[in-house]
Amino acid sequence: MNKLRLAAALFFLLCSPAEAKLFDIDDFYLDNGLRVLVIPNHKAPIVKHMVWYNAGSMDEQPGKGGAAHLLEHLMFRGTEEIPGNRLNEILEQNGAESNAFTAQDFTAYHQLLDISRLELAMYLEADRMQNLQILPEHFALERDIVFQERQQVVENNPAAYFNEAVRRVLWQDHPYGRPITGMPEEISGLRQEDAEDFYRRYYAPANAVLVLSGDIDGSTARQLATKYYGKVKARPSGERKKFPELKTDFKSRVEMKLQGIAAPRLSLNFAVASAGTDKDDIYKLAVLAKYLGGGEVSALYKDLVLKQKAALAVSAVYDEASRSYGTFSINAVPAAGVSAQQLEEQLRRAIAEAVKNFDESKLEKIKRRMRAGLVYLQDNPADAAYIAGSLATVGLSKAEIENYDAGIEKVTVGGVKAAAAEMLQHAPQVTGILEPLGGRK
């Protein structure tokens, strides 16, 4: 460590608050560029082992929708050394709960394991980081399986089908507008080279984050990570796409009547700041979501459900863990006799009033509540691994993850009001209304 960096580190230590950190993370890099996060939790002799690749459906080549997700499936179909179904068999024999998921921004492979099996899992995961072998017959089978997955998860669920339509309009030509699974005809058109190309481009150690959360300390983790993942050759990671800027000041609507839908619902969806675009804004928007629609004590619930009796449910959700824009949505279900359109009017009025009435005492209450619940995040090592892993993958530093509550603490009334005004007036937004089509399915 040179003197300048030492001075910087000391400065940081002196400046950061002395109180407990969120997860007590140990954070380091291997020589091949792999980032490692260790979250010790010694409650039980178990560990959540996750590898996050900083690549998801948004990184797919044009027309290759579903390639990232299909590759995720193929990662379970063997390497040269551990062919076919051996990976699944070995993990099963060793009591692992093993799975993976693909998102817009990232793809993660994970196992919950007895701690005595961690080294084994690290060996297997490091192996498939560089030695994946896709056989044509496996490719054909998995393409059929992901086609079935899409049918099961989207086409069989009218609400999911509607949400996909809303996202298409909100994100316009931004890659977030494409479904993670790919469109059915895209899936059918994928070729083996597409999956291999994605693997080559993005599954490099320097483009990944390893998370070890559980009964392990930093120094053992460092030793084991070096032993198993240190062997993976460094290689260049695919070029990062520049994400298209969304047109601002655009407001749109999706109204859909669907067979199968029995209860109408309404949603306001905004493209906003994220951990990847504006780290300062995420705390303000998190407070705003909690204030407007965090459960049955929120401002909108009190107004629309309890006072006006115009809605049966209302909630606000903010997703900041993305590389490009974040999403803020406010969802509501109209009460009997109230149309979705009538509720929309009420909802807009209620949001404006709630923002106007936001003050110091309300802010303090929200902060206190957010702080009080943080200790629960330290209970389940799998939860901690997910939270820290997703935030690190989209670009938060260890300090930013650890000091999440300090970020919340700094939020001001004016800051929240300004963030709300910016979102409501200038963010790209889509109003979604889903109603029954009537008649029997």
């Binding site: 178990i46 179904n85 394991l113 005595s116 080294e119 079935q148 049918q151 099961q152 069989n156």
Partner: protein, 467 residues
């Protein structure tokens, strides 16, 4: 010249020898390296992380002359406490006819205020102190869960006691909850899988209360009065049918006080409606519900066995091999991994107090439906006829034993497990014995279970595209 040739020859020879030697050293090294890589057992045995045990011990804590009992697993890793409890037999199946949905409705109303706290004030209080409190009603039991930080534990116990003693059931909250139930019943038909599960229960159980919609019906729910809820609580939520599991940062002495404080004033004896055993007529009938959906979904059930029966562990292991082992189960291998015909396919044990089933399910696009049904039937027949192999049994045992510690990941999962251990009469030392139970299952027993339970007649309901 000759010398040179000879010399050359000699050189050639030694070069080849050297190359051979080098090649064999390299391939030997690669072989050894590979051997290391190919030997997962060795990796596990030699791991520096070997030999750790979960240290917790389950204790039974009693209060009020043994009228209140709880299993406790003390764990001080984090300053949080989880209290799980059920009232046995107080669930939806015990709702009297005409009051269908009462248990679930009461569960939903219990957070709507108690004592001097209105619904809103009560919920604000839970938020302010970061207390998680929830109630639920399954078919058999009525349950509750309290999760709190140690710091706010006193407040949490006080609020829980207040809910059990003095729930408000204010009229405006009753009305709102009735609307929520109407909405929930509407939404039940929006997803083919949830519509299927309702019809499936009807088809299996007919007029038995397991066949009813757990959310009740419009006539019954809309007619509920606060008195119905109070009466339900007075009859069904008592010390005699209460089972409690507690995990986290609390010791036996503290817990004893909590038991007294929170549950000490409940009525002593419960009066729950008798629910008869559900007699399902398994006669291989099959019913199709026609809907326009992306996939057709199939649910199928046959006779199972109870948790206390001698067949339980053999059947548990047999089902694991047949359809419980994720991608490695026989069903998933045959239908998904080898044919690519489905995304999801599995089987499981459906165990309730009055009915025990083996349930199988899959969903697939219409053009695959006949092929999948045929493959499933063939797998089932083969499993019943031939049973499992020794290797499959070993694989199953390895998984079930090696995954043992995963149950201790979350504090609320632990407290829930402690409740189930008592409900199933497994004893406080169950966790120490559990792996032995698995280990002692023989191939003969598994194959007998396969022959008994997988050759049985079924009832099947499918939803999807049949026209």
């Amino acid at each position: 010249m000759r010398r040179r040739i000879y010399h050359k020859k000699k050189t050639d020879y030694s070069l080849i020898l050297w190359l051979l030697l080098i090649a064999s050293v390299i391939s030997g090294a690669v072989y050894l390296y590979r051997q290391q890589g190919f030997n997962p057992q060795k990796l596990v045995d030699n791991s520096v992380l070997q030999g750790r045990r979960f240290g917790g011990e389950v204790k039974e804590v009693a209060a009020l002359d043994g009228k209140l009992k709880a299993y406790l697993l003390e764990d001080k890793t984090n300053p949080i406490i989880s209290v799980d409890f059920i009232f046995k037999g107080a669930g939806a199946a015990a709702d009297p006819s005409g009051k269908e949905g009462l248990a679930k409705f009461t569960a939903a109303m219990l957070k709507d205020g108690a004592g001097n706290y209105t619904a809103q004030q009560f919920k604000e209080e839970l938020e302010d102190y970061a207390i998680g409190l929830s109630f639920s009603a399954g078919s058999d039991d009525f349950g509750g869960r309290l999760v709190t930080t140690k710091e706010n534990a006193a407040k949490a116990y006080e609020l829980l006691k207040l809910v059990l003693q003095k729930p408000r059931f204010d009229d405006k909250d009753m009305q709102r909850t009735k609307s929520e139930f109407r909405l929930a019943r509407q939404k039940q038909t929006e997803h083919p899988a949830s519509e299927l599960s309702l019809v499936f229960n009807e088809e299996l159980y007919g007029i038995h209360s397991y066949g009813r919609n757990p959310l009740g019906n419009a006539a019954a729910v809309d007619g509920f009065k606060a008195d119905d809820l109070r009466q339900m609580m007075a009859n069904r939520l008592a010390q005699s049918n209460l089972i409690i599991g507690v995990a986290g940062d609390i010791n036996a002495e503290e817990l004893k006080q909590v038991l007294l404080q929170v549950f000490g004033e409940l009525p002593e004896k419960a009066r729950v409606n008798f629910v008869r055993d559900a007699e399902v007529n398994f006669d291989n009938r099959s019913r199709n519900i026609d809907r326009k959906t992306g996939q057709t979904i199939s649910l199928s059930a046959s006779r199972g066995t109870s948790r206390s029966s001698a067949d339980f562990y053999p059947l548990y292991v047999a089902n694991y091999i047949y359809g419980g082992a994720g991608l490695n189960s026989r069903l998933a291998q045959a239908v998904r991994e080898k044919e690519g015909l489905v995304y999801s396919i599995s089987s499981g044990l459906g165990m309730q107090d009055k009915s025990n089933l083996v349930v199988g399910s899959f969903s697939t696009t219409p053009e695959n439906f006949a092929a999948v049904s045929k493959l499933v039937a063939a797998e089932r027949q083969k499993f019943a006829a031939e049973g499992a192999s020794q290797a499959e049994l070993q694989q199953a045992k390895d998984y079930l034993i090696a995954s043992y510690n995963l149950r201790f990941a979350a504090i609320d999962d632990i407290s829930q497990m402690l409740v189930m251990m008592q409900k199933d009469n497994l004893g406080a030392d169950f966790l120490r014995k559990r792996n032995d139970y698995i280990e002692s299952v023989s191939l003969e027993e598994v194959n007998k279970a396969a022959a008994t339970y997988f050759a049985d007649e079924t009832v099947t309901v499918n939803i999807g595209n049949f026209k």
